[in-house]
């Protein structure tokens, strides 16, 4: 073990049926450092943390802790806690209706007796020492979210922890609250606690962290000192694209660029929803394919959801062909010819128990109206047409959609929207979790539709996919539009540098 290390994980392997979630990952945390764990979705961050906290058992590898000669065995969250590894999750896992002190000591009192007085006194001491603005007897729910989070941390710290894991701790906090949290983190750092920080916001990572470990596809990319890793490098390492790769060749057969002269069909001004994104401007031309790009949690989905009225729109105007239209809820958008394929297919897309036929017909039926149902015959005609057109693999039109594979489910949802003959199609991660063949099919389809005059917004975590299909990219960072790329600038390098941003000064 290294001299100052409090935690060392070596050669960690973990597989799930069909997935190798972690392959030979090393991770070292030193005393008094804040260490960011970075990676895109599916990189293995959460698996690594769950192995560390005893939620998952590792397949292979060793974990060493300071003060233990041999490798330690962590078989349950209880083990992890006893070894001084504490976790604070994004969602508060405390009991809001109990007092602060009760929350700090719950499940930790020995025996049956509880001495409330001494417990409250102890709690107050800890709170004062950490400068947390809460009283031991206060009900937890009456504290702000930030303070609740701090109480959770205080609870963790008091359990004599050496390793503190903060999993997306700032997501629900405003800027002042984040500042308070960071102060607490620095305080803990000075006491020698090692902190693992999992967070998607680059600005925050660069503000608080000392080191960064990057994971990608279950493998370790590397461990870096923060000052030695410019943001652009970090982004390129996370995305797995070489920053200096200029020899990129575009596949022209797959690329279609919208006509420059055409009119803006939809236009939005300072659009705002209740999903917590900054107001943004947006437009799309007829026959254009554009895209939103940015890291996970940057607000890509929230932006298109605001356009479709999927989240509650709280401000801004939308114009169609120059005329203002009101889009408050999805049906309004649908009536204006907008279609939206949501990011989370399972939660927002498929209607699992219903048949392929019903899933295909659903949106058009809603547009047609409650009192004009399609006959069974018409429904079968629609369904059969699109099953053939999109080559959907299903036993029959009556098969429940949930028994189809992911790619075919996605095609059904696509069919549902194509059937409404939209003027503007929004595709949020249409290619996630589906096989390569279907991915290419969907990309081709997007370009074909655009060439027929449909406007398309395409969102994907895979930037090369976006480069291939989109003619213009809107770049988002930390829930804010930070740039737009088009024409000759459309390459990985430019995207990554825009995503990474210049520095701290351009954030608010």
């Amino acid at each position: 073990m290294k001299e100052k290390a409090v935690l060392e994980m070596k050669n960690i392997h973990k597989s799930f049926p069909g997935v190798r979630a972690l392959q030979a990952v090393d991770f070292t945390l030193c005393e008094g450092e804040v260490h960011a764990l970075m990676g895109e979705n599916g990189a293995g961050k959460s698996t690594l943390i769950k192995v560390l906290t005893g939620v998952y058992s590792k397949d292979e590898g060793e974990i060493y802790l300071k003060g233990h000669e041999k490798a330690v065995a962590i078989r349950s969250p209880q083990d992890a806690q006893n070894l001084g590894i504490s976790t604070v999750y994004q969602e508060i896992t405390l009991c809001p209706n109990l007092s602060v002190a009760e929350n700090m000591f719950i499940g930790r009192t020995k025996g049956m007796g509880v001495n409330w007085k001494s417990m409250n006194k102890m709690a107050d001491e800890i709170l004062t020492s950490l400068d947390i603005p809460a009283k031991s007897t206060q009900q937890l729910a009456s504290c702000s979210i930030a303070v609740q989070q701090m109480v959770a941390i205080a609870r963790a710290v008091d359990m004599d922890c050496k390793v503190l894991i903060l999993d997306e701790p700032t997501s629900s906090l405003d800027e002042q609250e984040v500042a308070k949290l960071f102060k607490l983190m620095r305080d803990l750092k000075s006491r020698g606690v090692g902190i693992v920080f999992v967070k998607h916001f680059l600005d925050q990572v660069y503000e608080i962290c000392d080191k960064i470990t990057v994971l990608r596809d279950g493998q370790l990319v590397g461990e870096y000192e923060i000052e030695n890793l410019p943001r652009v490098q970090l982004v390129s390492k996370m995305l797995g694209k070489d920053f200096d790769d200029t020899s990129e060749i575009k596949d022209d057969s797959l690329t279609y660029k919208g006509e420059d002269a055409s009119e803006k069909i939809f236009e939005a001004e300072s659009l705002r929803s209740n999903a917590g994104i900054k107001p943004f401007d947006f437009y799309i031309k007829k026959g254009e394919v554009n895209g939103f790009t940015g890291l996970l949690g940057s607000g890509r989905s929230e932006s298109v959801r605001a356009i479709f009225g999927a989240d509650r729109v709280v401000g801004g105007t939308v114009k169609k062909n120059g005329k203002e239209v009101k889009i408050k809820k999805p049906i309004d958008a649908m009536k204006q010819g907008i279609a939206y394929l949501p990011e989370d297919r399972k939660r927002d897309g498929i209607v699992g128990d219903l048949s392929v036929r019903e899933n295909i017909v659903l949106a058009l039926q809603v547009l047609q109206g409650f009192f004009k149902p399609f006959s069974k015959k018409a429904q079968y005609e629609f369904a059969d047409e699109y099953i053939k057109l999109l080559d959907i693999k299903t036993a029959s039109a009556d098969t429940p959609i949930k028994s189809l594979s992911g790619g075919n489910q996605q095609k059904v949802i696509l069919a549902r929207w194509l059937l409404t003959h939209p003027e503007y199609l929004i595709l949020d991660e249409p290619t996630r979790g589906i096989d390569i063949g279907t991915k290419v099919e969907i990309q081709k389809l997007v370009l074909k539709l655009a060439s027929e005059g449909m406007s398309v917004t395409f969102i994907s975590s895979e930037t090369d996919e976006m480069l291939r299909t989109c003619s213009r990219l809107i770049v988002m960072r930390d829930r804010k539009v930070v740039g737009e790329i088009s024409g000759d600038d459309m390459n990985q390098t430019k995207i990554m540098s825009t995503i990474a941003g210049g520095g701290r000064d351009d954030a608010e």
């Binding site: 999805p330 949501p342 927002d348 128990d353 036993a395 098969t399």
Partner: protein
């Protein structure tokens, strides 16, 4: 790939699998069981005879007629309960109380202040029904609002009306028990002169026809099921889940009013404290017996209605066997237990396995013989 898989499944579990999986399997199996039981106990149970009643009409009598007759209210309520269950993933337990209210409103209008009506005109009966229907639908909308808008669990939300409903019903008629003495009013719950079939059967058939038309000529079925399966996704497809949920409760309210109409017709009065007591449990049981998921989503209206008549079959059978009426719930509880176990995924898989084994065994036997 998927295609192959599905085909394989069908052939593997064969007829048994398809049988077990079919939604009508449970209610039909239960019905057959009851029929066989009665054949063994007393074949006369199935006898239907024609007699002349004291009004001088030919009327059909017999247990089977009684089942169809007495099951009318339950079948009508099962229609509304199925929709509520599908859309909201929960059940309305205030149906009985709401029947008490609707029935009391009818009596209040027909009988007026002095709580007696010697002669009743068709007009006032229609007015009374319409007003009662409006009241029942309003209470339904109230339940629906609590469920759709405030996101309260349906059973919890309807607990309010369940608790308060019979008090409201008592208040409607000042705690008196009004009575209609016009014999022609009794036609609603009995026989219309010249027709040997009890009137409630016709009312139930009319309701079934109506819901069939509604399901055919509106997108209610698709919307309701879509919301029940995936509310998020339905909203993103432009459906207004709140409106549909409230609508399902309003339709149940209408069903309640019709059921109350039959109840008042049968007795020419009702006792607000006891009328239709626990009928909501039977209606829920009918939905479950019809193989519909009580957690919402897909539904089969026909199966629910069949379920309602199976429950009535059970009740009538038990009466014929001299089972104390206070013990009826115990027998129904047994049915519920069997149902719940049958519909548990673990048991369903087991059944499929058994089906497979039976089939492979048969094949083996055939081979051996051959």
């Amino acid at each position: 790939m998927t295609q192959n898989k599905v085909e394989k499944k069908t052939t593997a579990s064969g007829l048994f699998g398809r049988l077990f999986r079919h939604q009508l399997f449970i209610p039909i199996a239960a019905l057959l069981l009851l029929v066989i039981f009665n054949l063994i106990m007393d074949p006369a149970f199935f006898a239907i005879r024609m007699e002349i009643n004291n009004a001088g009409n030919n009327v059909l009598l017999g247990s089977l007629v009684t089942i169809l007759d007495s099951g009318s209210e339950l079948a009508i309520l099962a229609i509304g309960m199925t929709l509520v269950t599908s859309a909201c993933g929960g059940q309305d337990i205030s149906v009985g109380a709401n029947i008490a209210i609707a029935g009391s409103v009818m009596l209040r209008i027909i009988c007026g202040e002095d709580a007696r009506a010697e002669e009743v005109s068709v007009g006032i009966v229609i007015v009374a029904f319409l007003v009662a229907a409006l009241v029942a639908m309003l209470f339904g909308a109230f339940n629906g609002l609590l469920v759709a808008h405030f996101n309260i669990q349906p059973m919890v939300a309807t607990l309010i009306l369940y608790t308060a409903g019979r008090h409201i019903a008592a208040w409607v008629n000042n705690n008196t028990l009004p009575k209609i003495n016009d014999t022609s009013f009794g036609y609603i719950g009995g026989y219309i002169p010249g027709i040997p079939i009890p009137t409630p059967i016709f009312i139930a058939i009319a309701c079934m026809a109506l819901i069939a038309l509604v399901l055919k000529f509106t997108a209610l079925g698709l919307y309701t099921q879509a919301i029940g399966v995936n509310e998020n996704s339905s909203r993103l497809n432009g459906i207004n889940p709140k409106a549909i949920k409230i609508l399902s409760f309003v339709i149940l309210g209408l069903c309640v009013a019709v059921a109350a109409f039959i109840k008042v017709g049968r007795n020419t009065t009702i006792n607000y404290s006891g009328v239709a007591k626990d009928i909501e449990m039977d209606a829920i049981l009918a939905v479950a017996l019809g193989g519909n998921a009580l957690g919402g989503g897909r539904f089969n209206m026909g199966a629910s209605i069949l379920g309602a008549y199976v429950i009535q079959f059970l009740t009538t059978t038990l009466y014929a066997c001299n089972v104390e009426s206070s013990e009826l719930p115990a027998y129904k509880a047994v049915v519920v237990i069997i149902l719940v176990i049958m519909s548990a995924p673990v048991v369903r898989d087991k059944l499929k396995d058994v089906g497979k084994k039976l089939k492979s065994k048969k094949n083996v036997e055939v081979k051996e013989v051959g």
